[in-house]
Amino acid sequence: MAAKKPTVAVYKFSSCDGCQLSLLNLEDELLDLAGAVDIAYFLEASRAVKPGPYDIALVEGSVTTPHEIERIREIREDARFVIALGTCATSGGIQALRNFADAEEYARAVYDHPEYLEYLNTATPISETIKVDLEIWGCPVNKHLVLECIAALLQNRKPNLPQYSVCLECKRRGAVCVLVAHGTPCLGPVTQAGCGAICPANGRGCYGCFGPWPQGNFDSLVPTLTATERFPGETHLLLRNFNAHAPAFRKAAEAALTVGKK
């Protein structure tokens, strides 16, 4: 059974590097990981690069430049299995706010010489450019879930990812519902679990960084939130956040404006 270890490559697109750091933060498990796979390309960790093709490509970040479109296509051709890592890669990330605005105006506001920039008007998830085999959501990702996904790939099984909303893990850890007890707006009921309900457990509302829960009932939560807004448009802004470009949040954010006006 001395099969060759599967090779893993880690790539960065437009992102803050936080998800790659989550990988490095594995610490206790990192040795285990290095024993199970051959980390062939991971510039954040090491300059040593082994040539492709690779078995698994972990891609962090969203696609925001023409060059990135070309790069991600090459990565797809070079990898058997592509995993989109983190919210930028799965839904565009915070930079996808430009999708709702004038990107040129943003560029002018930030750079002295925007004419040297080559960028797209949108920030989009990896899956809008290439076929992605698995998406791991989160800003940043939960390192344990990343490890679980890699383990599942190596062991030929479906990764054990939660299928419920944040509420269930919030209650399992004994946190008090911030929406009910404090009136704090919280996206927990429509957000995919996986984070461990960190924010509600610390008295903050969930801001949906793990992405929309596919079964979430937005039609019910949006009016509930707009009814108790602390300032007009609060619900809209909550949904226009790290996952603004995710279709379910996009739709709900628009609905929040109409419901709010009523």
């Binding site: 062991q155 030929n156 099984r157 479906k158």
Partner: protein, 292 residues
């Protein structure tokens, strides 16, 4: 709590002092049946467990593959197997079963059981029997067939209606002759034939029209896809076989096998402990409730 239903005996494999802790069994034989389905013959490693473990036709075990989880699978072998082996005929569809499919002879898996109610072999003695099954519904009935063969004089006319998708999907073909020799009348059919198939094409409930049924003295045992079960029940009831003599084996998500985790409930019943085999009379009221 439910007086209508027989009580299932406590499991003999697994540790009562620990929740869902299985005993280990070695795979001693693997028989490929059809595409994606094999029979795994297990022998408990602990001789004491091997000695005390008995199951009734229709009961199931929870099979544990470390790292992947547990899956509820009916036994498909003779409860009185001379080698004390326990067989499960497994279709490789879920995470657990797909990976059981990758195991080899000599590998070890965890077993808890037996769980649930059984085909009421004692209660239906003296009756004509119709065993109606489709696809993976035959394996849970096979222990009942062995029991009938061993006690053939205790039962009247026995008819096995068995359907598969294609001729290649028919299971246990080597045994069919033996079953027929013991005066089990078989009506085998497929959804789609091939160039060599000269048997019946159609669905299982259709074959109720092919033989005479004495409703006063017939019991039906059925297992298979839900839609097939539904129509078998209709055909049975249409022939005025009373609902309490139509026995159905059901499937649901199960985690514990002991009526504790809650997953397998339908109405007041825990399928893992009050079932999987139910007289249709107790399910009747829920059968038309959608998504119940």
């Amino acid at each position: 709590m439910t007086s209508l239903l027989p009580q299932s005996a406590p499991p003999t494999a697994g540790h009562p002092g620990k929740l869902i802790q299985p005993d280990w069994a070695e795979i001693v034989r693997i028989t490929p049946e059809t595409e994606g389905i094999s029979t795994f013959w297990l022998r408990f490693i602990d001789p004491q467990v091997r000695e005390r473990y008995h199951f009734q036709p229709g009961q199931f075990n929870m099979l544990y593959l470390p790292g992947y989880g547990e899956s509820a699978i009916s036994m498909s072998s003779d409860p009185e197997d001379e080698e004390r082996l326990v067989a499960h005929t497994i279709r490789f569809v879920g995470t657990v079963t797909k990976n059981i499919g990758r195991l080899k002879v000599g590998d070890v898996i965890g077993v808890r059981g037996p769980f649930g109610t059984s085909w009421p072999m004692k209660q239906i003695e003296g009756r004509d029997l119709v065993l109606a099954c489709g696809g993976i519904g035959l394996p849970p009935l096979r222990p009942a067939i062995y029991h009938i063969i061993r006690n053939r004089e205790k039962y009247g006319k026995v008819t096995l209606l068995y359907g598969a998708r294609t001729p290649k999907d028919l299971m246990y073909p080597d045994e069919h002759e033996e079953w027929q020799r013991h005066d089990i009348h078989m009506e085998i059919s497929v959804d789609r034939g091939d160039e060599n198939w000269d048997g019946r094409v159609g669905v299982v409930p259709m074959w109720f029209y092919n033989f005479r049924i004495d409703p006063r003295n017939t019991a039906v045992l059925t297992c298979g896809p839900e839609i097939m079960i539904r129509f078998v029940i209709y055909e049975g009831l249409a022939r005025r076989i009373p609902a309490e003599r139509i026995f159905v084996s059901l499937e649901r998500n199960m985690k514990c096998g002991q009526g504790s985790c809650g997953h397998c409930q339908i109405g007041p019943y825990f399928i893992c402990k009050d079932g999987p085999v139910f007289p249709f009379s107790v399910l009747q009221r829920y059968v038309n409730v959608e998504e119940y």
